[in-house]
Symmetry: C2
Subunit: 448 residues, 2 copies
């Protein structure tokens, strides 16, 4: 049965109010798919379906629903019901959800939850957004130096944490300081009386509660971890961050970088969920700034009015110079921004990068300007001097664009600014001004 | 001890040839860090360090080393030694490594490996690059419908697969067809005599050997999986792909998208490892194409030479029009490309997107052109007509740029082309031509 057939079947069961069967059918589906199906339901049906779900499944489905739908649900069900849901959810998902609610609603909802859950959640809500602390969960398995494999398996069974977070055991000393991690698979292939201390992975890899999520993602990716422990300022273990949350962080960081590279303020909401005024507001600041900086290029053109009057080929070459320069600069800056994000390039490499880009620029500049020189002579009937002036300006533009394009992101990183912010729009404007200046200076020397 | 101190210590032990101690020190480090340390060693020291490592650690370290260093090692050690290394490595890592080697070296190396390993690796090497088949590994736990939790734990211990791939048990029927997946954590919290069939997750999620790695990554991310089973054309299970490989795929796909958006051919090698000629070659094709398309803009300027002669403010406005149009188009296309990549936007949304972008364009166009109108009147002493012509052209440019910017990526997706390819450079050129055409048409009507 493909997905469309499943949806038709679910629609039918809902329409006919056969709740027993509906419940049975839903139990055969993945919570992610149930959340997907709920997207197209109206408020009334959404509520019905949610109430039909078994309680443990509903907490899972709720974690996968999008913000808008959660809000619809929350408005319709009683506070006590929400509180029960939160008790059932994993702490990291519950914190995620509560961060979406208005402050007074959070207070109201938390009043009805289990006091222990409430205490933990209240503490988690204090961590800054996008910090390791705000991402972590407390559902993990802790062991001591004295325990054996058998003890660990017993402890897993007793705590009953039904989540993939049990796949790494964290060994703590009596001060709750992290002293090592043991991958569960190591414990499963040895005799049960083996001491856990013999299975500890070399080196302790952890992050601090206040570390940014980018640091967390980089560390997890570097060491190929399933989960990473989070410690407080005194080295005491306070939680772990799981791989699925890290994947979301990676996509988030990538989206943010890409948006910044195109002069967009990072969006808080998915495209279709955003208001027109928000979409416009995210784009306007950079457009306004860049519009004003491009006046510089205009001023250069105005200043050399007399040069332009000499031959229409000069005016006609302006778009080619500006576009090619912008594209060259963008290529170089993109490589730098990506290299910095993946940890391949750093500020200390600046001279090496510059030397590389300089030679790449020479090579590309030579190719492009040769083609242009021939094109001008053969197709546009330009004079040798005219073709030379335009081709040389193109050559110089390419070399300069490559250099500006690689220096700006590296410089931004050095100044602790975001490299992606120094990207294409700003570079385009700088390169435009530089290339026009070269063009007119050369032209006024040889053509006037 | 921080990392620098550790490196100093290792350098010292190497220099003094204290191999026993060096071996002991290395065993305290994470294989990722050992591979990192090896990066700065010369060939001789690299070889020494590698031979000092315990055998099981060396296979792990080898998996984390970069291509260049692996090649250095392979050139220096005997084929038999490489073959032993391959026997020790996980199949997916071994296949990765062998794909880097020249064909005759692969044959030579495989001759000495265990015949079973050789058969598997030979089969894996046949899958197309970037397919699910080429990413998968065969180290996973399979169970049958009749087995209990106790049987499964026994089977894990017997096969002794020492990898996180044991965290999902795959249930196969007697035809080796996949009938369900059981997360190991579910099995660890129930009595040992529980039947595994009671713990199977609802719904079967799998990919086909020939599926592209992008499909694999999207599925894993959607369902928050630790590993995903791979089946052949007949639904028989042939392997699994693990989460750490998926993370690498996600970063690779993101890098490729970002590069394409800037008109770069995707790079095969890291920046500093690439030759200048390769770097230039990756960038030249699009630059050449876009240089020629920008001639269209030049031709439009040349055609309206007489209009430009009327007032220098007209020439001076060209960079502002071109830059703002390009930036607006790029913003819209970036949002579309990212939306498509994350599955938030599809071709069927084209009218909804167009309507959204149209209204965003109106709003932004109004803001920018109003500011420009006032600027031209107050700062540049333009006439009402002149300011009106330039501002109106800017307004129209913004609206058109937003529309082109959103349609192109969606259209590319519809034509089964890569949306990222239809991105900023091409859009800039199209928008340039459109905005200049509007500008001169309006200007020649009102100014001449």
């Amino acid at each position: 049965m493909d997905w469309e057939q499943i949806e038709v079947k679910l629609d039918q069961l809902m329409a006919e109010s056969r709740h027993g069967q509906l419940r049975g059918a839903l139990m055969m589906l993945n919570p992610v798919d149930i959340a997907g199906y709920m997207k197209k339901l109206d408020k009334e049906k959404l509520l019905l379906l949610f109430r039909v779900l078994p309680k443990d499944v509903s907490a899972d489905v709720f974690s996968y629903m999008d913000t808008e739908q959660r809000q619809t649900l929350v408005e319709s069900i009683a506070d006590a019901e929400i509180s029960a849901l939160i008790d059932e959810m994993f702490v990291d998902d519950a914190v995620d959800f509560l961060e979406e609610l208005p402050a007074n609603a959070v207070k109201r909802v938390l009043q009805n939850t289990d006091p222990k859950t409430r205490a933990i959640i209240n503490q988690f809500l204090k961590y800054p957004e996008n910090s390791a602390g705000s991402l972590m969960t407390i559902e993990y398995c802790e062991v001591t130096q004295e325990m054996s494999v058998k003890d660990a398996l017993k402890s897993i069974k007793e705590t009953g944490v039904d989540k993939e977070t049990v796949y790494t055991l964290y060994m703590l000393d009596d001060q709750r300081r992290l002293i090592g991690a043991i991958p569960l698979h190591k414990a499963l292939v040895v005799p049960e009386d083996t001491a856990l201390s013999k299975l500890v992975d070399p080196g302790i890899i952890s992050v601090n509660t206040m570390d940014d999520q980018e640091v967390v993602a980089d560390t997890v990716r570097k060491y190929h971890l399933l989960s990473i422990p989070v410690v407080d300022g005194e080295g005491r273990m306070v939680g772990i961050i799981t791989n699925d949350d890290i994947m979301d962080v990676i996509e988030e960081e990538n989206t943010e970088d890409i948006e910044k590279m195109s002069g967009l303020a990072p969006a808080e909401e998915p495209y279709f969920k955003s208001k027109i005024i928000t979409l416009a507001g995210n784009r306007l600041p950079w457009l306004m700034i860049l519009m004003f900086t491009s006046i510089v290029s205009g001023a250069i053109i105005a200043k050399f009015e007399n040069v332009l009057a000499v031959n229409i080929l000069l005016s006609a070459s302006i778009p080619m110079l500006m576009d090619t320069g912008g594209n060259c600069g963008q290529q170089a800056s993109t490589l730098m921004i990506r290299g910095i994000a993946l940890g391949e390039v750093q500020f200390k490499d600046v001279f090496r990068v510059l030397w590389t880009e300089f030679r790449v620029g020479l090579l590309i500049g030579l190719c492009l300007s040769l083609v242009t020189f021939v094109r001008l002579l053969l197709l546009n009937g330009a004079s040798l001097i005219m073709a030379g002036v335009i081709s040389f300006s193109l050559f110089a533009t390419v070399v300069i664009a490559k250099s500006i394009g690689c220096i700006l992101p590296l410089g931004a990183q050095r100044l602790k600014m975001d490299p992606a912010l120094a990207a294409s729009p700003l570079i385009t404007t700088l390169v435009d001004a530089a290339s026009l200046f070269i063009f007119f200076t050369v032209a006024s020397k040889f053509v006037l």
